[in-house]
Amino acid sequence: MKTNTAGSKGLSVILMAAGAIMTIAALALDFMGNKASFRGPLLVIGVLAFVLGVYLFPTLKHHRKIVYVIFLFPLLFAFVVTVIIPLVLGIFYSMTDWTGIQFTKFVGLANYAAMFKDPAFIWSVLMTFVFVVINMVLVNLVAFLLALLCTSGLKGDGFFRAAYFLPNLIGGIVLGYIWQFVFNNVLINITKISWLVQTKTAMLAIVIVYVWQYAGYIMLIYITGLTQVPKDVLEAASIDGADAKQTLFQIKIPMIASTITICTFLTLTSAFKQFDVNLALTGGTGSVPNFMGAYLTNGTQMLALNIYNTAVSKNNYSLGQAKAVLFFIILACVSLVQVRISNSKEVEL
């Protein structure tokens, strides 16, 4: 870094300025609907020139920081384009009467007010919370038992692990249709009437399919946790005369507490985002005769499906967008709590 001269400073500034001008010109051309084919190269060369100018800027003090930023740039750029901009646009659209094609006016918070007045939406939110709680318990319980089974020295446990994990590899939509067939054409011989047509049994059906799909995945994480319990601790326990039950509750479960936290939050967030099985299995059908004074026709429709349905089927994109913002807030809260708890656990360990 001995070339700290006026010459290189000048070069740097010129590069930055030229780069900025080219970038802006390319973007301006695009916004004005110009179809000139040099737009793309102009933009890329402009950005590169700007970055090079910044890199060559003669400063000892900030050189390292500049390099860091340049290296981070591709990631930041991708993150902004695919996450930040859509998020901001989404919040913006939620305050308009956007149809998915165009919007004519701003409506302020009217969409938010409308969604809390809609019994069908409140039902969806409640159903989602109930579903999340039931699933968090059931998935973890089933997965933990399966993990115990697969680590108990059973013959051919590799096969069982693979078999329990397999449903997770099938997409939710496919699973939904397979189980729809099972409920409507096979189990109907026992149940007389398909489980999918009445709200209560249909919810039960979704829970069954979801547990069936997800337990294998969580099981794998529990297996990892259980196999990491140190052998010497287990050996010491057995020498001290602990039976299987005591070993499980006094040794194994406390030793895998962090795994349990991870699994709990994994099931929590994924159950919140439940969409594909819901869509393919019941499509949100089911009736509720009297909820907040209304006759509901979306008995098994959970939050994510409700959002999709509002936007796509009811053709109300802005209201759907408002619901999606709420959905984002709920999930963000869950994630923040998760990060906090995980961090504090790590300190303890």
């Binding site: 890329v44 149809t99 008995g299």
Partner: protein, 447 residues
């Protein structure tokens, strides 16, 4: 120094990455088009070749091959390539189109099925009023100002389809079913002779709410809106637009639905699929089937084997006579092709004109099995229901499809589930059904 070289090399590598990305964006649109159009292999090529070609999004996947054949012939004649992109089987076409619009990848011609669909594109569609074919048909889609903005390509009919052979064996003249009493009598006669006639049930009628909501909530409900009315009579659809139903008329209709619920196949009533329903009718297991004329295509293709085994019986349609004096079936163009206003508009219009002409109609009618909405068309579709539609049309006994004006997804979000509840017994009787439907429609239209 080595470190600096390494860092520079990495920067260069990153820059290469950026250039590659930038280079990619130029051809990005056609790549996206190729991905989206992956369902139809041909569509990818024209999207890449760009100018001079037009693209049509078709909503009837079953006629994909016939349309492609027509596009080939058109290319041979005029040199203009028409890419056919077919969607169906649960794809929400309007939503896909919105995606195309956002991606600046709009097709030049696309399918629109209802007022809500056309409403999405207000101000973006070409006026087709002065096209040569416009005078040749009454079925073009007209917007609020009376401009034709939709090209009609087929005619479909909603009526109570029957198996003529079975009715003949049971000694029932379909023409004698003119009202609720005679319909009930016919159903009872058939039910009593079920074993003798080899029937599983009198009528194939399914109320499943997830996949068949459109059959109950739109097509069956359409009879409440239009059956027995003149083609331009909008009494009940106007009422519906205000969120109301005529309860006296609806209750009569609801009583007919109760009859269907009672005499349908209990195995399929609440959880059957379209395929099972049509297969049952094609195999001669039901004397009647709800649905409409489009099942003819299913019977002669997917279910051809069973249909042949059942003797390729003659079929016909009777009106859904839930009230004495209802004597019409509902015929309409089920959806239209709209032309997107862009640089290719004239080429798109030329293609539609060709389709409406003799050469195009031959493909649409003979290959695709469409029942032509054009007066000058001289081809006859090879469809089991073509004859009955022609007869009703000739006698002037047809009503329109005003259900197309229903609020978006009324069937999926409200009515489908209510029909299911009625079939399940969650809603006990016709009077309660009328009440619930009335309240729910009012609530849905108020949203």
């Amino acid at each position: 120094m080595k470190k600096k070289l390494l860092a520079l090399a990495l920067v260069a590598a990153m820059a290469m990455g950026l250039v590659a990305c930038g280079g990619g964006s130029a051809s990005g649109s056609s790549d996206a088009a190729a991905d989206d159009a992956a369902k139809t292999e041909e569509a990818a090529a024209p999207a890449a070749s760009g100018e001079g070609d037009i693209r049509l999004v078709n909503g009837k996947i079953e006629v994909d091959a016939a349309l492609k054949a027509a596009a080939e012939a058109y290319k041979a004649e005029t040199g203009v390539t028409v890419a056919i992109e077919s969607m169906g089987g649960g794809v929400n076409i309007q939503d896909t189109l919105k995606g195309y619009f956002q991606a600046d990848n709009m097709p030049d011609i696309f399918v629109c099925g209802s007022d809500a669909d056309f409403g999405n594109w207000t101000g973006k569609l070409a006026d087709l009023s002065n096209e040569p074919w416009a005078a040749d048909t009454d079925a073009g889609y007209k917007d609020a100002d009376g401009k034709i903005i939709g090209f009609p390509y087929t005619t479909e009919a909603i009526g109570l389809a029957y198996n003529a052979d079975i009715l003949e064996k049971a000694g029932i003249d379909p023409a004698s079913i003119t009202g609720p009493e005679s319909m009930k009598a016919a159903f009872e006669t058939l039910d009593a002779k079920k074993d003798e006639l080899g029937l599983t049930a009198v009528i194939g009628w399914c109320c499943e709410a997830k996949d068949l909501y459109w059959s109950t909530g739109s097509h069956s409900f359409a009879n409440y809106l239009d059956a027995g009315l003149a083609r331009d009579d909008t009494t009940y659809s106007d009422l519906l637009a205000e969120g109301k139903i005529d309860e006296a008329r609806f209750q009569k209709y609801a009583e007919m639905i109760a009859l269907f619920n009672q005499y349908s196949d209990p195995a399929l009533l609440t959880s059957g699929t379209y395929d099972q329903q049509i297969l049952g009718f094609a195999s001669g297991k039901y004397a009647f089937v709800t649905q409409g004329s489009w099942i003819g295509a299913t019977m002669t293709s997917d279910d051809a084997e069973q249909y042949a085994a059942a003797g390729n019986f003659k079929v016909g349609m009777i009106p859904y006579a839930f009230d004495e004096g209802i004597d019409t079936i509902l015929t309409n163009s089920p959806s239209w092709w709209a032309v997107f206003e862009n640089d290719n508009t004239q080429k798109a219009k030329d293609f539609l004109t060709w389709l409406a002409g003799d050469a195009g109609q031959k493909f649409l009618v003979e290959d695709a099995g469409f029942i032509s909405p054009f007066k000058s068309c001289k081809y006859v579709a090879n469809d089991p229901f073509a004859q009955t539609i022609t007869d009703f049309t000739a006698a002037g006994k047809t009503s329109s499809w005003h259900w197309l004006k229903n609020k978006a997804s009324l069937d999926q979000n409200v009515l489908g589930q209510l029909y299911l509840d009625y079939a399940l017994g969650n809603i006990p009787d016709a009077a309660t059904f009328t009440q619930v439907v009335s309240q729910q429609i009012a609530a849905y239209y108020a949203q």
